[in-house]
Structures are given as structure tokens and as C-alpha cells.
Amino acid sequence: MVETPLILQTVDLTKHFGMIKAAERISVEVNQGELVGIVGANGSGKTTFLNLITGYLKPERGRILLMGRDTTGLPPRTITRLGVARSFQVPQLYRHMRVLESVLLSLAAESGNGGSFWQPLFKESRRAEALETLKRFGLSAYAHRPTSELPEGGRKLLDIALSFALKPKLLLMDEPTSGVSIEDKFEVMDTLVKVLQESNVTTIFVEHDMEVVQRYGWRVLVFDEGQVIADGKPDNVLADPEVRKTVLGRV
């Protein structure tokens, strides 16, 4: 099979919630290795877009192709297994579990070992890998602490680390810096981008913070009322006063 550089393609993706147009004929293409930022005001359909791609929502119309395969209508679990992972605006963690255990679970799931009920979770090789992952995300100090004891920035990083541990080809991040203090957010993004670049993971991240998108995105999509109103290099797109108005106007 020929490896296509196209990793994600959506065609006319449409989803309405009653009167609200959460997605309106979205057609987007993302290539292997890209780092794409998505901006837009609250309620412009950014998160809905991620929910559609990962199967949490089913589109009313349109198609989704991941690595050349039609995944429209598949559940999140199946899409995850195809190599698409995501993180969440509000970190989705196992609150009664330790940090290391959480990562081990992602690794076990990735290795297809998640359903085993006889092999222990704490295999030596897996444990080493989990510790290495935590180290890359700067969370080593918390490895043996319950996830509930993590500070907010740490929660965000762990949430992304859990997705990253699935070794995805495409990673979708929903507002990686929301809830992170202004002083910390560039540090968090530096850590993230470094890890992702090292592993050559194609990444789409949703942000309401234009500064972050401008600094880290290679390419930016601007959402408004469920539509993509601009697509291009951050420096060009975000300079557009119309774009600035729609993104900032209603915040």
C-alpha cells in the first residue's frame, strides 16, 4: 500500500444541535507531520470538530477519512485503535489511580494487552517505558502519587501523556493550555511540542489563545459558527483584522 501523505481528510462535515450550527460543511485536509492550530470563539465548533473526527459525535452529513480509510460513524474506540488519540479540554484522568498506573494502562492498551486478565499490568519492560514517558513530560516526580494530587498544569500534561502513550499517528489536543497559568503555558507548550516533534506525531490542537497558536502552529484553521473561515500560515491568517474580530470579538 502506498503511504499517503494525507493523514486526515473531511468532506462536507455537518452537525447541528437544534438551531446551533456546530459544524457546517467542513472540508479540511491535514498532511503527515503537520502541526495545525485551530482557533475560534467559544461555541464556534472547535471541540465539535474533534468530537466528530474521533467518533464521539456522528455527523449528519459528510465523510471522514483517516489515512485514506473512511471512518465515518465508527466509535471512538475503533478510531483510537487506528492511531488517532486525543486529549481533553477538561483532563480526563483516572482520579483514584496513581500517575504511573494511568500511563501503564495506556501502554497496555496500545500493546493490545489491555484485555489480559492473567498477565500483570506491572511488567518490567512496560514499567520502564512508562517511567520514560513521564520523564519526557516532566512528570517523573509525581509517578507514584495519585492523579488527584497533580497541579493543574500537571493534569493537562498527564492527560496528553495518556494519549501520547498510545503512540498515535495523529494526536488531537483540546485546549492544551486552558486552565494553565499564563506564566506556565509557554513552558507547557515547549515541553509538548518538543516531545511531539521528537516522535514525529501529526498534531492538531484547538486553542482560544491566539498567541499560542501563532507561536507553535505551522498552520492555522479559524472556526466560526461551525465553518472554516480561514486556513493558512499563522502569521498571514491571524494578521487579518476580520479573523481577529471573529475570534476575539465574542470572547
Binding site: T47, N51, Y56, F88, Q89, V90, Q92
Partner: protein
């Protein structure tokens, strides 16, 4: 099936449905407001029956005119409702709102166990009989089969209580407050609604439903320890079939269960009990939220 038998089945079914509804409507109301499935509901039903029986026997022996016994039944039920409702809600439930579901179920289960024995300690373990209110109303005939008029009273009390609750929720200020608390607790608190008081009041309404159910069924049965256990599970079935937290659902659920049971007794007696739970499983398998229930989705 001939018309005579059908009439009998419908009457038996209605009779049974009336009792079930009276109990189930309180259960579903409490769930609707507090989001707690109150297992101790059955014990309140039992307490209502005991209190009403004891009080009626006591007053009849003191020379109370028998036609006043209906008011005594109601009084007994109200006493129990007003004692158990606020005390269970304030002393126990208040501490576990928002806890895991199993904590809530087990807490009310433990209250059931405690109250079940409390009845034995208060009123003894031998059965009590009191049938004056049942005999007093006389009887009527349907399709050649004689029924006690008391059946009408049961259906009447049951329907009135249902209508009263619907009016309370849809037609009064209290109802508006209840609905706003159901929809968003935080906002209601912010708006200055005394949510604690609403919860107490709602739980007390639920307790009253159970106590009235017990009080008015008491003259037709022998009131003895343990008689409440089975009725409770059946009212769970009723509530689940109709949709948790839904008043109309409880009405429809009671009718379905009541008629199904009557049908089974007359046609396939072996299935008398199983049919109720079979219906419950069937309904839940296709509509997990029950016939009238709404689906709740989680946002991420």
C-alpha cells in the same frame, strides 16, 4: 376470552394498580428531585400501615364511630410521613448527596433494615387485624362478581394523590422551585432558593405517599412483620418501567404491572410474579430510561 373474565381482570388489575401507584409515585417523585432511589420507602409504607392500624383499633375501642376511621387512617399516615420524611432526609440523606450511587442505595437500604425491626419492637411481632373501614362501605357487583366498594376508595385515594402531586409540581410556586432545583442546583442556590428545604419537602411528600399507601391497604390485609418487602421491589419495577423520576410513568407502570399480574393470575398462574420482572427487563432492554424517561448525555 369472554367479556365477563375480561371485566374481572380489568377490575382486579385496577385494584392492584391503585395500590402500586400510591407507593410508586412517591418513590419516583423523590428520585426525580433528589436523584436518590429510596429503598427505605418500603419501610415507610410498613410504618404507615402499622400506625394507621394501631391508631384505628385504639380509637374504635374507645368508641370512635366507625365511619370516622377513614380520617384516622389518613391521620396515622400523615403522622408517619411527617416524622420519617424530614428525619431521614435531614439526618441521613443530607450527608450523601452527590456521593457514589452505591453509597446512596446502601444508605437507604440500611434505613430499611433499621425501620423494619423498629416496627417489630414498637408493635410486636404478631399480626394485627383491623377491617372495619373495609367492611363498612359495602359491596357492588361487576359481571356477577362481587367487589368491595373499598376498592373504589383505594383507586380514589391513589388517583387524588397523583393529581395532587402533578398540581403541586406544575401549578404551584413550590413546583416551580422544585423544577428549577432539578434543572440546576447550583444556579438555584445562587438565586437564593433554599434547596435544603425543597429537598426536605420533596422527600416528605415521597414519605407521605408510602405511608398513605400503607395506611389504606392495611384494612384489607394482616399487618405483620415483613409484609412490605415484596411490595417495595414491585414498586421499583413500576418506577423502572415508567421511567425513573416521571409521574406519568409511574401511573402507566402501575397500570401495566397491575393488569399484567391480574391477567397472569387468571390465565397462567405460574407467571404471576415473574411477569412483572419480565416486563421490566423487556422495557429496560429496549428503553433503558423507561417508557417516559429522558436520556441524559455527558458533555466532554
Amino acid at each position: 376470552m369472554d367479556i365477563g373474565l375480561l371485566t374481572i381482570i380489568i377490575f382486579d388489575g385496577l385494584n392492584y394498580a391503585a395500590v402500586l401507584f400510591l407507593i410508586a409515585v412517591g418513590l419516583t417523585f423523590v428520585y426525580g428531585v433528589l436523584r436518590i432511589l429510596n429503598i427505605s420507602h418500603g419501610a415507610i409504607y410498613g410504618l404507615g400501615a402499622y400506625m394507621a392500624t394501631w391508631l384505628t383499633i385504639l380509637l374504635l375501642n374507645k368508641g370512635l364511630p366507625p365511619y370516622l376511621s377513614y380520617f384516622v387512617l389518613l391521620t396515622g399516615a400523615i403522622i408517619i410521613g411527617l416524622i420519617t420524611g424530614p428525619s431521614i432526609e435531614r439526618l441521613c440523606l443530607r450527608r450523601i448527596y452527590g456521593s457514589d450511587i452505591h453509597i446512596q442505595l446502601l444508605l437507604t437500604f440500611s434505613i430499611l433494615l433499621i425501620l423494619d425491626d423498629a416496627m417489630k419492637l414498637i408493635w410486636g411481632v404478631e399480626p394485627m387485624f383491623m377491617s372495619e373501614p373495609y367492611f363498612l362501605l359495602g359491596q357492588f357487583s361487576v359481571g356477577g362478581i362481587i367487589y368491595p366498594r373499598y376498592t373504589f376508595l383505594l383507586i380514589g385515594v391513589s388517583a387524588s394523590f397523583g393529581v395532587f402531586l402533578v398540581w403541586l409540581v406544575r401549578g404551584t410556586r413550590f413546583g416551580k422551585l422544585v423544577v428549577s432545583v432539578i434543572q440546576d442546583r447550583e444556579i438555584s442556590v445562587a438565586m437564593g432558593i433554599n434547596v435544603g428545604l425543597i429537598y426536605t419537602a420533596a422527600f416528605t411528600m415521597g414519605a407521605l405517599s408510602a405511608a398513605i399507601g400503607g395506611a389504606f391497604i392495611a384494612p384489607t390485609i394482616s399487618v405483620a412483620p415483613g409484609f412490605a418487602a415484596e411490595v417495595v421491589v414491585m414498586s421499583f419495577a413500576v418506577v423502572a418501567i415508567g421511567g425513573l423520576g416521571n409521574l406519568e410513568g409511574a401511573a402507566l407502570g402501575s397500570l401495566i404491572v397491575g393488569l399484567a399480574r391480574a391477567l397472569a393470575i387468571h390465565l397462567v398462574a405460574e407467571l404471576e410474579l415473574a411477569v412483572i420482572y419480565l416486563i421490566m427487563v423487556l422495557v429496560l432492554a429496549f428503553r433503558p430510561q423507561g417508557l417516559f424517561g429522558a436520556v441524559e448525555e455527558r458533555r466532554i
